[in-house]
């Protein structure tokens, strides 16, 4: 069970020596409780305390890492069922399935096209995480050729899909120098697969339809000396996925059930008649570690990657809206321009008030690191320079024919400086409270 900050504090030396870089032992203890610090930073903790604290902090889901020629992916190490409880840490990898039955050139072409996919989301580059090569041909030479073809076109990590140990062995040789994920061991082949995986030092997927069988299998594999395992519970549609993946996550986190404390791999395309895009989306939100897609379509991949980014955002950070320009009530070139910060509550207060007032308006939201107007101003995150930069970069100049901008009443003090930073603009000081915006515009906004 997780310990509270105070419980951890009682196990620490309580000398406030500051050598851990935190100002007090209690501050360090609270960071430990939040898993934002490591116990080894304390040079004076007793062996007895260390044992207690380490037992309480072992990750319930093993972190499994794979690597390509360039680029790594680590999944697992999750600690909660719902993202608001802390955060989801390791984004699931999205892989594209490639069949070895295609000619090498065709594989190269497909992979190169998919590998070139790169979308930008609020400055974060979104790409595929790797390729899952499937033994569809039945020809060991073709397998090896396919691996080489993919490696020629991409340096991303690989998943190798075969249930035949000899094929797996040949593949792993072709993939040497990387750390692919081998899929999969099942009740019939596990001993041989375990040997292959162990020799190549790669993580291995355990596949079984029921959780009983899956636990039996992982225990056998663990006994055989494998530590890095991934689970394939063979999910079908949305309902089956939700039940199995929720139960697996719960067993790991709430029951600390070691045999099933591993990341999960899913194949949304294997869901029969289910909509594979929506099923992949479910797997992103609900607990998959690796997701193998059957088709490459930017129109769905972009959305899935954005969803993954959203679900894995740290919810402890202040809720922010994206900085930029927001249109309210279909503004025209003579509509007022208002400035505020990107703290969501501030934004909503202003946006709702303006919307409710019926005034069409342009709302320029500055990047104030998610702080409210006064807090941001106090912390220097909502100053003249930042406001001027926002007004100049969001494109409002091209949208309005006037040059008047309304700043929140709480930062009236900035108006002088802002006149200097925004030459040609008239700075109007708006009300302090959002609720007065309607009345303010009525009285002050003259076209």
């Amino acid at each position: 069970m997780a310990l509270t900050g105070l419980e951890i504090y009682k196990l620490l030396p309580q000398t406030n020596c500051k050598e851990c870089s935190f100002p007090t032992c209690l501050a360090f203890a609270m960071k430990l409780a939040a898993k934002q610090a490591e116990l080894k930073a304390c040079p004076y903790v007793s062996e007895e305390s260390k044992a207690k604290l380490e037992a309480a902090s072992a990750p319930p889901i093993r972190l499994v890492e794979i690597a390509g020629d360039d680029g790594k992916l680590a999944v697992g190490n999750e600690t909660v069922l719902f993202r608001h409880e802390k955060t989801f840490f390791h984004r699931p990898g999205l892989f594209l399935r490639v069949k070895d039955s295609l000619p090498a050139e065709e594989i190269k072409k497909q992979v190169a096209a998919a590998d070139a996919f790169k979308a930008d989301y609020v400055g974060i580059p979104l790409t595929l995480d790797g390729y899952a090569i499937e033994a569809a041909s039945g020809d060991p030479a073709a397998f090896a050729g396919a691996v080489k073809a993919v490696r020629a076109a991409s340096k991303k990590p690989l998943i190798l899909l075969t249930s035949k140990p000899d094929v797996a062995k040949a593949w792993l040789e072709a993939a040497s120098g990387t750390r692919p994920l081998l899929h999969a061991a099942d009740a019939s082949n596990w001993e041989a697969m375990a040997e292959v995986a162990k020799a190549a030092k790669v993580p291995l997927v355990a596949r079984a339809e029921t959780l009983d069988d899956l636990a039996t299998l992982t225990q056998s594999l663990t006994k055989a000396g494998l530590e890095d395992l991934v689970l394939d519970p063979g999910v079908k549609g949305p309902k089956d996925s939700l039940e199995k993946l929720t139960t697996l996550r719960r067993l790991a986190i709430k029951k600390n059930f070691r045999p099933l404390g591993f990341p999960i791999i899913t194949f949304p395309g294997a869901g029969g008649k289910a909509d594979d895009v929506l099923l992949a989306a479910e797997h992103i939100a609900k607990y998959a570690g690796f997701i193998v897609l059957d088709t490459f379509d930017p129109a769905s991949l972009y959305g899935l990657l954005v969803l993954r980014q959203n679900i894995y955002t740290d919810p402890q950070k202040p809720i922010q809206v994206q900085p930029g320009m927001y249109e309210i009530n279909n503004p025209k070139d003579d509509s007022p321009v208002l400035v505020t910060t990107n703290f969501s509550i501030t934004y909503f207060a202003i946006a709702n008030e303006v919307e409710g007032s019926g005034w069409p308006a342009w709302l320029v939201v500055t990047d104030a690191e998610g702080m409210s107007v006064l807090t941001a101003w106090a912390a220097g995150k909502f100053d003249s320079e930042r406001i001027a930069k926002a007004v100049k970069t969001v494109g409002v100049e091209g949208k309005v024919k006037h040059r008047k901008v309304i700043i929140p009443g709480h930062v009236a003090v900035l108006s002088g400086e802002l006149e200097g930073d925004l030459p040609g603009w008239t700075i109007m000081v708006g009300p302090r409270e959002a609720v007065d915006i309607g009345a303010f515009l009525k009285a002050m906004w003259v076209n």
């Binding site: 479910e282 769905s300 972009y302 959203n310 969501s344 409710g356």
Partner: protein, 320 residues
Amino acid sequence: MAVEIPKEKWSGTVREVTLGATREQGGTRTRTLTVGGETAMPHHAFEGSFPHPPALALEVRDRKPTDWSPLLLQAWGAAMDDPAAWAKAAEQAGAELIFLTLSATLADGKANTAANARAVVRKVLEATGLPLAVIGPGQAEIDNELIVAAAEEGKGERLLIGTCEDKNYRTIVAGALANDHVVQSKTPMDVNLSKQLVILIHDMGLPLERIIMDPTTGALGYGIEYGYSVMERLRLAALQGDSMTQQPLIVTPGEEGWKVKEAKVGEGVPAAWGDWNRRALNWEALTANALIYAGADIIVLRHPETLRRLRGVVDALMAA
């Protein structure tokens, strides 16, 4: 080995709320819609009961919107010129609830009127036997005027009326009390605010069986994670027995999803975004889909194709 499957036992239940009234019940609807009643986290059918599937609604406006994506205009065609025809088309597309939104202005740019609101509500009620939601443009004064009129016009039909917000709820709640309707309690992405508005509305004497919460969600890529977590937290609180969070949840991914650039615009966007039509449909569907797993009870959509795709998900989740 036999794995002992952990099951959660919750003390709380989501309230059941019924929309629409049949002739026997004092209205004219041919069917009613009941949502809520869940006893476990969303679609954990393995440990709780889910008496009602999430309901799929389609948004219909009192006049053809000027700011909707061309893809939506294509999908609905001429039906959009007449709210009655649009509502009929929505029913045919599989909607279980018509979500009628009233505009702030009339086609001539003048403020919308109570008389127009009455006429539109009457028309739509006559065109379809489905339960109806009537939602104002979100501007306090106009909302109060239009929605009170709509509430009177639809007396006895057990409409869902809104928007109730923390700064403006008393008039609309009074309209619901007087005419036997259900209200939508809308708050901006915050667990506490959601709960507070339910308390305020309930304090006016409206039974909790007549309140549906709209937690506001945000579109995929535009803050959906906040709404998603707010919904999960509300549902957890509800199941833990916190009475004021036990209202069914209504969400509007149609509006949210189609408002953003990814769905609305086909030109001047990065090539990596892919085919516009498929992307736009995915945007609405992915937004809606995520909210189903967060506990949405009523999902208001805009595109009939999205409704079709979501129906597949709902059917699969509710399958025995």
